[in-house]
Amino acid sequence: MTTPVTTDTALSIQNLTVSYHNQPVLWDINLDIPTGVMAGIVGPNGAGKSTLIKSLLGLVPSLSGEVLVHGRAYASQRKRVGYVPQRSSVDWDFPTTALDVVTMGLYGRLGWFRRPGRKERLESLEALEMVGMSAYADRQISQLSGGQQQRVFLARALVQQADVYFLDEPMAGVDATTERVIIDILRRLRDAGKTLIVVHHDLQTVRNYFDWLLLLNVRVIASGKAEDVFNIDHLRQAYGGQIALLNDSDSLMFATSQVK
């Protein structure tokens, strides 16, 4: 395999501003995320975490800003970017199977007219195997549990064999097994040199999961290595009064989580 890495910066954002109905959602975001890290995007509700990912991917129009993936404009690097949207973004009553959803991840590579064949089927089965869902390949997606649906979405991104992955709250509302499976796969991907950018909402597990952090609340509050960013001053800036509860004892906030 060739290593197409051209720079050490996996994702570079300059001067990104997004507004929705005249309300700034993201203001003047400047950010560089190095290659091969598991980066968490953390912030209170309405901080623009999901919007950040969506605007990077061109799903939400931005007022200004430039996004570089591995040193080149995102539009020319689509094949190197994988996306795991929020589970609730689609209608799971759609008539199709888990395997078929995973195969959709290959549609970009197949181009306009080629249809998925045997090779694509095997690749998709392999991805389902990775997320521990191979037994459910032919199951209707409406019959999967929330955690299983999330794993199917992850498998769909895995078949893309991207270098940079964006995940929008992959741990939201999933069971412990799924959270464990997801975090294991993400760590494996990171160890293979991929970059993972994850919107996350659970402060308890932040220190445990991520080695790089972006604290966001419309603006960038802090970004960098997790141990530098994740401290009480930054959190208070990002969350305002909402952090007061955690404030009394640092031990509660930094409590080690079950998943190691």
Partner: protein
Amino acid sequence: MQWLDLLSDYTFQNVVIGASLLGLISGPLGCFAVLRRQSLLGDAISHAALPGVCLSFIITGSRDISGVIIGSLVTGSLAALTMLLLTRKSRLKTDAALGICLSIFFAIGIVLLTYIQSTNNASQGGLEAFLFGQAAATLRSDLWIMGGITLVTLTLLAVFWKQAKLVTFDTQYARTLGMPTTAIEAVLTCMVALAVVVGLQMVGVILMAAMIVAPAAAARQWSRHLGGMLVIAAGIGIVSGVSGATISTLSRGLATGPLVVLSATTIVLISLALAPGRGLLWGTIKHYRQKEALQKQQLLYALYKHPLASKHYRATFGARWVLGKLKRQGYLVRSTDGGSGWRLTSRGEKAAKQVVATFEEVAT
């Protein structure tokens, strides 16, 4: 002999072929509309076809089908795209945007229609037939045009199958793969307009929405894959078209379009009730089966754990029913020696032990 006469009847042939073509195109396209939660889009498009029909008459001065098709296609697509634009760019929700588009375009259509009627043009006769359709007036040449549209549309759908499927399931993800999602969505919407155009002559602008929604809704009940859903929807469309046309011809004088729509909705009702897995009936049966199984287990558990409990309880109807059933199955016998008035047989005791074991396992 009567059937042979019927089959060789020129008008009947035309009507049946036309209704089948309508089912063939509106079923598959309706699937996409329904899955994209735009079931009523077909309604807006078909109502918006009326001003197109009238405009084409004003311009060409005749009821020529190609003029009608182009006119209704233009105004129908215009209404649909206006609606998409309104929901995207303004704060209007889909239902409100749809209501606005539908009523404005239809109102313009009615105004134009009455204007044409007021001019007393001799060739305008029957223009209002497009409101409810006039299947009997279908000509062989109309069928060729309807067939051509159907063929082109279904071919397009087959070629761009992947794109249509992914955009329908997950538009945003499709966009991250580099698909021109807005264009694909617009094409899917305009295809619904094509289906409407095919149906104008048969069922008319007002009832056309049913032909978009009904076959798709029924097909969803029976299918596990998108491809299967499309095929089933096309089949249901054709069946309702043919049966509607046949009933109409046999009954002499009942309107074809409404009968086609009624056939389709009958199939919908049957599908909603009976389809395996998704049907209402199956859900109800499953619920009562589970309820009975649980009551059975609870009774066995209670009789096993508390054999000497007082008989001074008031058994509900459901409990008595289950007790009777357990007795018939040989788990229980009536007994007079104190307790609840019931005694477990050896078979019942065995079953009860199993129940107790599983209950306690669940508890720990």
